[in-house]
Every structure is written in C-alpha cells, then in structure tokens.
Symmetry: C2
Subunit: 288 residues, 2 copies
C-alpha cells in the first residue's frame, strides 16, 4: 500500500500537520521513532495515542538500525505511518529508510515538518548566514573527538554562524552490559548547553588556534518550538552557568552579525534575571 | 491580545499544523504574506479561506516592507494570525516583524513548519554537509551580481553541498512605472533551474577560477513537498535542458558525497525518460 514517513515537528502532539494527521488516521499501523530525538515537554505516548486515535508501536534503536525490515515489508500490503520527531530528513537513519523503500519499489510519501535545522531561525540569526552544522558528542576520559573544531574554524573564517547539535543518548548499553549481551539500558542522557561550552573550551585549550574563546558570542536555545522555549544569548563565559532547564538544548556560535541580527541577539542577552545553575558542589545535574 | 506568526509549510492548505490551524480559528483577523514565496500547486486563496473558515487579508510587498504597522497595533487588542509560506524565520522580513513585536511588548507566538532550508533533505544529501546557502537573482544586461561565486568556492573547498535559492519576483514594478508612480505590476516571475545553471556557468566563464563546471554534479528540485514534486540529478550540462515544470524550483550543487548520498543521488539521475525542454526557437518558457 504505502509507507508514510511523517515529521512531527518540535513541540507536542499538535505540531503535526493536517496532512500528517490524515495519513495516520488512514494507516493500519503506526510506528514512532524513539531514539534520535525526543518529544516536547508533556507529550507522552499515551497522549499521542489518544489524540491520533491509533495505537503506536515504538521503533527503538535496534529496530531502526537493523533497517525496519518488517515495517518495510508490511508497507507492501497495508498503510503504515512512521513518525519522526522534527523532519523526516533530519537524521541519516531516516534518509536510509526512504532509500530502501525506493530501491524496493515500496510506495512512500514523505510529510515534512519543522526541524531544528530551520527552526533555529528563531534566535534571529539568519539561516543563510550559517555555515556547516556540527554535532557535539559526550566526551569520555579516552575519547574527545574534535573534528568540529576545524569546521567552526572554517565557518568563523567566513564570518558564518555555527549550529551545534547536542548529543542524545537514548537506550544506550554500558560496555559491560554490551559485552555480556545484557539488554539493560542506561538512563537517557541529553547534553546541556553548559556541557557543550565546557567541551568547546577544553578543545580550544588543547588546540590553541584561537578559533573561539570564553568571550565569543553565542546563543543557547532550549525546547525550541515548545511553550517553555528559552533563548539566552551572551559570551560562552556568560552562558556556561545559565540554567536552561529541561532538554533538548541547542547551541549557536555567532559569526559576524548584521545590524538586525545584533539587535535580536541583544534582546535575548543574559541579564540579572536569568536563572543560574546552582554551584557545582550542590549539583549533580552535570552527569545526568 | 496576541500575534500568531504561522508557517504554512511547503505544500498546500493541509500542510499547516494542528496548532497553526487552531490559532487561525481563534483569530479575529488573518493575514497572508504573499510576495516572498508562493503556495503550492492548486492551493488558491479561496480554498484556504474555505478550509480555514476565515477571511484572509493579503499582505503584499508594500504592507510587509512598510512594517505591517497596522497589523502590529491590531495585535494589542485582538488575536491576529500572520501566515507565511514555509517557516516564519525563512525570510528576513518576517524575522524583523517578530523583532518589532518583541520591542513593543506585543505578545506573539511563532508556530514553526517545514521550509526549503530543511525539506531540501529530500534529495538525500545530508543537511549537516551543506555549507552556506546562496541566493541567485535574475541577471540583467547591466547587473550580474556574483558574490555567490566566492561562497560556492568556499563550500566546495570544504567538500560541502550548496543550496541555491532561486529568485522570485512578485508584484514588481517596471522602472518606467516606478518613476511615474504607476501602481502597475509585472507578471510574477520565478527563476527556473535552467536559468540558474546558465547564470552559474556565465559567471564561471567570467571568473575562470574553476569553482565548478558543466560537469559538476547537481540536483534540481521542483515543487518540494507537493504531490507533483520532482527531483532530478545530473551534471549541470545534463540538467540545463531538463523540464522541471511549474515553480518553485530549487537547486543544489553537490560537494563531496558519501556512499549513501551517492546512492541516493544516482536514484534520481537524469535518464532517457526525463522530460526535456523544447528547443529554444519554439519555446518562450525561459522568459516567463
């Protein structure tokens, strides 16, 4: 029949498009991709089930990475909706899914929606003055991948802004559990803007090419597109202790700003009312 | 009361989100921005009025560029929806509108949607391997702005893809009518992929820095997000005579492609069934 790949947007269950909702309602089976991102605020799966009037099957990491074989085959004989937070082409895994449907001549329809890649425009820095987007992964004692550093360097050389996508770990196994074959998963982890800034400064410290510094102007964004959205701008030093609250967090390193961009930037500037993180000794937020 | 700035997405009247539709239904007045983009395929204003159950006031270029003063003031005492094709932050003018609402403490809410800046992912080239987006304007005898050339150069040096947004001229006045103060407007014009390629090659010919050539791999996209969406890939030479049909057109100059990107690219490759433009002598498409 048909495979609908449907973007849910960034907010809650009501950020789906009419076209997307109609596709769900006409589907025999509905899957929700559940590990490259997460739904906004108070949106629970139960609320989605109720609002969409359909049972929802969670497509976890194993299912998606193993290629959603079963779902693809089902799409030959029934209508199937595959729901994705943001836009369907925001993550490589979903692009691969569409490619496989195409190869096998399974009819598919993509229903677009907002993703962080365009909604980031809400901070006032114009989308066409961004360079390459980078991803920041959680550093460990033994692994501190710093390929982003060269990309930021290249963007800043050209005066461009850099969108930094922050790491999400959902349904990860510890190395011990992985080796033992135990299907025990760690608590989900979402990188905070504070952790991102710390890692950025750690790499600048190591590389010392003056690509950016604690005085570099940046914008921190949390829960973009949701009712509790927060946008706060300032230097890395100013933002490193700001409390941005619940996930997801996103981060922008500003390049050259035009007058209007600067005006917008200043309107979000950190001030005396901006909520700060509690001092480190009384906090265990950093490692959650 | 409140100013809703609502993205309509890229397709038709059903690409609005539930949240957006609810905002319209709760509004006392509904404006539609009508000159930086256009609505998909068969979507007429009348169809929108009927589907949204509201009268729709067209906000033309004059209104938007003069700052939508009246609309902003109305938002103090009533609920107003301002509809925008794509996402509200796709165009500088709308970002300015939000900034002015913010400055005047007029409550506003932005409702995001897909824009070409993220929906372009449908061609299979990953969004995080794009460099800076460029705009291609209609050349005239006396004006051939080529600042895009350096941006493409920079993107290609870093192996990045380049999204090219093609010019739209809606409600333009001829110089003669402008000077005479005649409010007579030219027919809307939308740059085709073919015109874009011709202009690109014209500038390469002039600049001769080998940034790209007729053999450079590219993707042409028409009517992204609509039922009649067309994606065709090939060299500039292969694509320059492909008939992409009705607007809007978008164009991507490929950078280095990963294996999966290349596979996707080839699946859209121009072939013997691809529709070609009629030969120039029998065609007046180029200037429409």
């Amino acid at each position: 029949m048909v495979l609908y790949v449907i973007g849910l947007g960034l907010g809650d269950e009501k950020d789906i498009t009419i076209k997307g909702l109609e596709a769900i309602k006409s589907s025999d089976k509905v899957y929700l991709e559940f590990y490259t991102s997460l739904l906004g605020g108070s949106t629970s799966i139960d609320r989605m089930k109720e609002y969409y009037g359909k049972d929802i099957i969670l497509a976890d990491r194993e299912m998606v990475e193993s290629g959603c074989e079963e779902m693809l085959e089902e799409s030959r004989t029934m209508s199937v909706s595959f729901l994705v937070v943001g836009d369907p082409f925001g993550a490589t895994t979903h692009t691969d899914l569409v490619m496989r449907a195409k190869e096998r001549s399974i009819p598919y329809q993509v229903i677009h929606n907002a993703s962080i890649m365009n909604a980031i425009g809400c901070c006032g820095l114009q989308l066409y003055t961004y360079g390459q987007t980078i991803s920041m992964v959680f550093f460990t004692e033994t692994s501190k991948p710093d390929s982003f550093y060269d990309r930021i360097k290249s963007n800043r050389r050209d005066g461009l802004h850099t969108l930094v996508l922050l790491d999400i770990k959902v349904k990860e196994q510890s190395i011990a559990n992985l080796l033992r074959g135990n299907k025990i998963y760690e608590k989900p982890r979402f990188m905070t803007i504070n952790q991102c800034i710390e890692q950025l400064l750690e790499i600048e410290e190591l590389r010392q090419e003056n690509v950016y510094s604690k005085d570099t102007l940046c914008v921190g964004l949390a829960r973009v597109g949701q009712d509790t959205q927060q946008i706060t701008s300032g230097t890395m030093e100013e933002l490193v202790n700001v409390d941005f609250g619940a996930p997801l967090h996103s981060f922008v390193i500003a390049g050259d700003m035009h007058f209007h961009e600067k005006e917008f930037f200043e309107s979000f500037r950190v001030n005396s009312e901006t909520k700060r993180l509690p001092p480190p000794e009384s906090s265990d937020n950093e490692d959650n």
